[in-house]
Symmetry: none
DNA sequence: TATGAATGAGCCTTCATTCAT
DNA sequence: AATGAATGAAGGCTCATTCAT
């Protein structure tokens, strides 16, 4: 009936429901971190969440919806951080602040972040691109504000790509020092931006 | 007995079988490109390869082995290209040549390349890292040869990460112009390398 | 995780499931009787049990576990009978009573009994020998109690072997008269025990 | 076409063929001994026999035929031994001689003997009972010749059953001392025969 | 005639999802 | 609303047998 990709089946209206939803999502996240996509089973999620499989399906009509929520949660958290920084930092330091935030974000749960990226790319219908568009836009504006106005459209995408590349690779080899990684990410991004053609 | 991850079950002794093996691998690649991991089924691979499922299993004892073979093939092709360039190009232009080769490689079958990366990260036992080590080593040497001797170990990894980040992102959004992408990758990499701390 | 040979996956908590488990085991038994090992398929068992294949696997993680359970059930039933008789019968008649029980047991479902023996000998890991040990011990004690103390260890094994030999052969040729068979088994066993070297 | 149970596809007419047939049968026997029914595969048999699978099927139209040949071979060997003994031994010692021969036979390749019994019982169509009938007849005659004329028909079957029971059990627990086993078998058989009702 | 590549029915098992209680 | 038993499509893989070379 309403089996198309979509929002969670019901919006939690009571405190208990909100908790249940949160439990389910956190359980999914933990499973992904500990077992990878292999162990990511609706039954496993329900079990770890301390909920019956029936209840799980009362809140999420589809496994895919759980995945989408997880992705959205992660994206929104990052976006909020970045948004806040963009609002509070003077133009010239803004990009650096954003990069710091991105590194910090990805390093919180590196395995999870990588897996969510994978799952996202496997979704039949690419998810709500809204968050992504906003992110790109914030970067673009920050670039311009900092005087990098050579080709902000492309460069904002590249900045994201470079950052993701470095951060993912770091996560994969278990690097966890935020400081050092942050420095190198900034070097790569600003190097790219300042480099003449 | 011989069920450990490893090489194909049977080394083709007749022309016919060599063709079959090639067909199977190509079929697997095509399915990954067209359907993604979802459609990547041994039965589907066999069907697309124009082979019976039994034949497939005569050459590959496990689906995982097909995946590994696909990964190895891709890695080796890239490595061969890079190796050749490293041997033929003067030190100062070497890194640029390698980057060009990498971009070219990834752009040949962008979707496939990305999926293989994913599948590789999902393998129970990480595959033969030999190829990767050689790649890193070649980059490291090229860095030193070009005078980038600040921290070759880390920087060689970062060069790879930056390149992969940019190239994957390009592939994801369907960018196919090798020229333009190559330029930006080089800008990113050399920018990173030249940027003072 | 819990994939080692062992007990059923889930202890039935509701009446419904207890019935389902029983149905599955009885279905397995019936199939073995009517089709032999050839038709003994998890799908067939599920079908005959009037259960979906998924349900079957909710209670038995492996086909092997079904087999083990079947064997254990049969062994335990026999053992219980024998135990009871051993407890209630005066020493001199004890062995005869046990032999009667054994004949009766094997003749209830002769084909099944024979197939379970076969399946048992094919199990990768020989099953819980506990039941067998108890059986041997009971026989041994009964022998001694009846004054057969020549070599109780060996003779108890031989008593079992003789009985099984006769009973299996009878089952194979369709002999079903418990009385007659019982008499001959006792003749064989007591003849063996009384015969001088 | 002629896919019904039957004789080997072609009677070996040349020395080479006879050797091949023998190789195949011996390979089958060895596999059964070393791997049990699990490893008993036509391809495995061919490999161990040093013959291509195609050749195997040239001599045996069906796996079942291989099994039948194996069973027949074993039966005939035993029968020949027994026949010879029956012909050479005076009536009163005849039965004892036969039992010795039976024990000896079963102890030559105990695992194989047991597996062949199993396979025989699994055959869709019970095999050529000729050998069995002759065996029973020989025993029956020996019984009568030795003065055991209470009920030779039934007793001959029971003698066989008792012997098989003891010998199989011995084989299963690894007993290999022919002497000792032979003594116990004779004790059981003669005990049974001499025991009054 | 020998070879071995090819075939495909069928087996065991998983897991997203439904539904009776 | 919660529970968890039940469902069944689908996937990986085996092995007896066939057939082109």
């Amino acid at each position: 009936m309403n089996k198309k990709p979509g929002m969670p089946r019901k919006r939690p209206k009571q405190a208990r429901s909100a908790v249940t939803v949160a439990n389910i999502l956190e359980a999914a996240a933990r499973i992904l971190e500990s077992e990878g996509s292999t162990g990511y089973t609706t039954n496993a999620v329900a079990r770890v969440a301390g909920v019956s499989i029936g209840s799980l399906y009362q809140y999420f009509p589809t496994k895919e919806v759980i995945t989408r929520e997880l992705i959205a949660l992660s994206n929104n958290a990052l976006l909020a951080d970045i948004q806040r920084i963009a609002d509070l930092t003077p133009p010239k330091e803004r990009l650096a602040g954003i990069l710091d935030a991105a590194v910090k974000h990805q390093l919180r749960r590196p395995a999870l972040a990588r897996l969510l990226d994978q799952l996202e790319s496997q979704l039949p219908v690419p998810p709500d691109t809204e968050a992504r568009k906003i992110l790109v836009e914030i970067i673009r504006v920050s670039l311009t504000a900092a005087g990098f106005d050579r080709a902000p459209e492309v460069e904002s995408l590249d900045v994201i790509a470079i950052t993701k590349g470095l951060v993912d690779a770091a996560g994969e080899r278990g690097e966890t020092n935020q400081e050092l990684l942050s420095i190198r990410v900034k070097r790569a991004v600003f190097g790219y931006l300042r480099q003449p053609d």
